[in-house]
């Protein structure tokens, strides 16, 4: 059951129980026609507007009341984004060791996993990907690296804390690096769609020796 509450005078935060419920609330608010932008967290959805509006909370509650009792199927068609990966990351062997599998099995587990964009943030185009459905390894066993790197290269494909991600730009990072991609995660000059990923997308990683990205 989700609960909606004020998050300052220009935003309402809906706290949700499951990822499925979060995606449902996200779809309902995105499609509601309410003004503002809708962002997801791991177990929350935020609607933010530009100007304080005392009526916003009631508007959100009305949308939720209409939407939540419906079926649990997604309200909008989900996109699938395929990202070609060279599994040449410097933490590949260590992560395989920590998970008790071979490097080959780790690559198979990561590339056969279905991932969903739970949340965007940290940096432009950075998506937090959570595993969906069957898992060949228990991603949640992994924490973050004991010592973060000062600079993780753009295109690094990484895992940590039960999630996966691709670094859109060089930046500090504490995730374990499994590989790299030539896919462009964020292009500020592409004003129609600057980010390859958005909340709710399904992501598949495709092993390759030749880098590149394809979208299904």
């Amino acid at each position: 059951m989700s609960t909606a509450g004020w998050f300052g005078d220009r935003a309402v935060l809906v706290e949700t129980g499951t990822a499925q419920e979060r995606d449902h609330v996200h779809a309902a608010l995105t499609g509601s026609g309410l003004p503002g932008s809708v962002r997801t967290g791991l177990t929350a959805v935020l609607l933010e507007i530009d100007t304080p509006d005392p009526g916003l909370l009631d508007s959100v509650r009305a949308v939720l009341a209409d939407a939540v009792p419906q079926s649990t199927s997604p309200l909008v068609a989900q996109r699938t984004v395929e990202i070609a990966v060279s599994y040449d990351g410097s933490d590949l062997d260590q992560v395989a060791h920590d998970l008790g599998v071979t490097a080959e099995a780790l690559v198979r587990a990561h590339s056969s996993q279905s991932w969903r964009v739970a949340m965007m943030g940290f940096a432009p185009g950075f998506g937090y990907l959570e595993p969906v459905g069957e898992m060949l390894v228990d991603w949640a066993v992994l924490g973050r690296r004991a010592s973060p790197r000062n600079r993780v290269p753009a295109g690094s494909v990484a895992v940590a804390a039960g999630m996966s991600a691709v670094y859109p730009q060089p930046m500090p990072g504490g995730w374990h690096l499994l590989g790299s991609t030539d896919a462009v995660l964020f292009d500020a000059s592409a004003v129609d769609r600057p980010s390859l990923l958005q909340s709710g997308d399904t992501v598949r990683f495709v092993p390759t020796v030749k880098d590149g990205a394809a979208r299904a």
Partner: protein, 300 residues
Amino acid sequence: MPDVIAVVADPGLATVQDHGRRGWTTVGVPVSGAWHRGRHRACVRLVDGSDGSAIELLAGHLSLEFERSTTLAVVGPAQVQVDGRSAPIGASIDVVAGSVVSVTHTGAGPVYVTVAGWTPARVLGSASADTFSGLGGGPLARGDVLVGDPTGHPGAGAFVRDDEVDTASVRVMVREEGDWLSGPWHVTTSARSGTRLRGGRVDSLAAMPSMPVVVGAIQATPDAELVILGPDGGLTGGYPVVGVVVTADLDLISVRAPGDPVRFAAVTVEQAADAHRVRRQAGAVVRPDGLGQAGGVVPG
């Protein structure tokens, strides 16, 4: 071809900021933009033809060498000189080709400088520098050139009323009741990413699954620190958010320096919306011919 209108000779701690990069938070792009919205709004209103861009000076000194005649304005705690002679704050200032304008930060919070006809490059609709992701460019550096079309934007002697609204308390909408509301807190560090407070008590709260956050969100860290997120504070966070500063009082956070006290007062959303309306009515541009947007105050 655009003309060169000014060259930065001494950049201080300065970035380009405007109304912000709106519409892209859903894909992880912060809004950024002017930290003190009231001063910024006043500054760009003083210069006809402004596209909303301003230099935000947080400390130090800014020097501009003008190669074309134009009009500029400065709003905030600063001393301004044009070719060594004092010039007013909160008024449009005409400069001739060859002038050197120096702006020295002298008080609390951001100072804004805008130049008629200056049109900095935009990224995703905004020229604002995001000091975290690097979008919109980094801090101004010596030799940077401000380009644009400087012609035909006389300021006509407009000036702004003092828009500073400094209340004893920072108004907040509470999410977690507790001792934190009564303080007393004081600022330890201040930056566009966030303002850190110590001194008060805050209940130890469990870390949250990473969640969306907003400018003005008050995070409680495990070692009893409060962090009020600023315009470059990022879009997600894992610390519990105990409250959120109301929109009308966000500017107050930008003028709090290390050591300054901060007191909070809880308000309802109706009170917050009223406060926002009052705040937006302050700082109107006034013209000597009486055609300004608000009546009344004409400095002697």
